[in-house]
Amino acid sequence: MDIELIGRSLRDNLLTPIPMCFALGIFSKLIHGGIKIPKEFYYAISIYLLMSIGIIGGHELAHEYQAHGVATIWKPALITLLLGCLTPLSAYAVLRYIGKLSIADAAGIAAHYGSTSAVTFIVANDYVGNQNVAVDAYLPTLVTILECPGIAIALIIGAVGMSMQKRSESSARSNGLEDDDEHKGKLWEALHEVLTGQSLMLMVGLLVIGFISTLVMPADKFQVFEQFFYNKNMIFRGALCIFLLEMGLVTGERLGDLLKVGPFLVAFGIIMPLIHGFVGCYLGKMAGMSLGGCAVLGAIVSSASYIAAPPAVRLTLPEANPTLSMTAALGITFPFNIAIGIPIYFWMAQMVGAPMVAKETKPPSLMVPAVSRPAADKAGEAKPAEAKH
């Protein structure tokens, strides 16, 4: 993939309505323009997008399951879980020991980078589709798997770190234990909040709904929901334009913060995703995922959450400065990924040698459903999402 190719791919990626709407939002804020999306409209669109990722994810998963059982998906799912546990650790280590940030700030930012961004997933999915490469049908499932563990682990690191620090600082003070208990209470609350939070509940809930209905309903009855929610169709596309316009407005509003956060965080917001993205692509390939799947996995692993993580961090680690994490996640990593990260992960996926079509692996016997294991020899009919529309 030489320079010219990268240039063309950038152009094809960026000069399309969705990223340009993001740019328009930023531009509007820079010139103090009057574009204003009502908060309720923004919320409505995010609800729609989350439901859409969920239900179509469940729908595709059901097809995958009908065709291959769990043969194709068990390894990628495990790998994703592993990545969800590793990325907050690596992010924390870099922020704390190289960046010298406070425990709270390091843990707070790590929570964002340990989780994922649904919009980055959608754009990556799209980009890969535009390269005429199929993606694995179960990818939305991986997004939901990736959402939580990273936040939980980073919050635990932060809470434990803070309480150890406090104890060592004032081992004489009497309220050490109380504080500890309170911290634990808050931690529990925050974990509950992530697990039952809007984004996870909508995605998982609709995933289950999509899965079950696909198995139960005749295909032509489900079709109307697919039309409404499918991410290549007009409603999804249009909603995404408006959503990214608003994201651009929010980012533009915070651009000034870029100067405040200092060069380390800017570098972190670019380099960390590249590292995480590479690991994602590599492990994805190891798990037998296809080229498209590896690239998208790289993108979602690299991306930082700016919807689920912020309120959870704000509640559990109030000492963490929200400006730092929001600026990094939304002001640096998100546009970086949208603009050039995603093509790079695609290229990485090619480099690590991901195959065009996913491999099937026999799962450990305890994972095979006793009854409904469908014929695994029909591997040839694997029907990737793209091919269908």
Binding site: K39, Y42, E246, V250, R314, L315, M326
Partner: protein, 106 residues
């Protein structure tokens, strides 16, 4: 018309604290509260978009409860969260209802 002089506590803070504050206000003895979304600007910058906005609580209560609420807020929110809180005097109709600390949950 008989009016009771009571205190009105007003708290403006980050909306992510809304659920906790709802619970706390009732635990500390208030019989109820009224709340709404607001925008604001203060020492922690602007709070006026989907990623940062405020909630305002108004609580009619006896002085003791008012102090308990304000104490809670100053210990738990002032240092780390965008927050302002104040007290004012109000004459409440059928104020006896709000004059004694209760302890319910919303």
């Amino acid at each position: 018309m008989q009016l009771h002089t009571l205190k009105k506590v007003t708290i403006v803070t980050e909306d992510s604290l809304k659920n906790e504050l709802k619970r706390k206000i009732c635990e500390l003895g208030a019989s109820g509260f009224t709340c709404r979304e607001v925008q604001g600007y203060g020492s922690r910058g602007a709070r006026s978009d989907a990623f940062a906005s405020n909630v305002e609580f108004e609580v009619i209560c006896p002085e003791a409860v008012a102090h308990a609420i304000l104490t809670f807020v100053s210990h738990h929110y002032f240092e780390q969260y965008a927050c302002i809180a104040w007290l004012s005097d109000v004459q409440v109709v059928r104020g006896a209802r709000y004059a004694e600390p209760v302890g319910t949950t919303p």
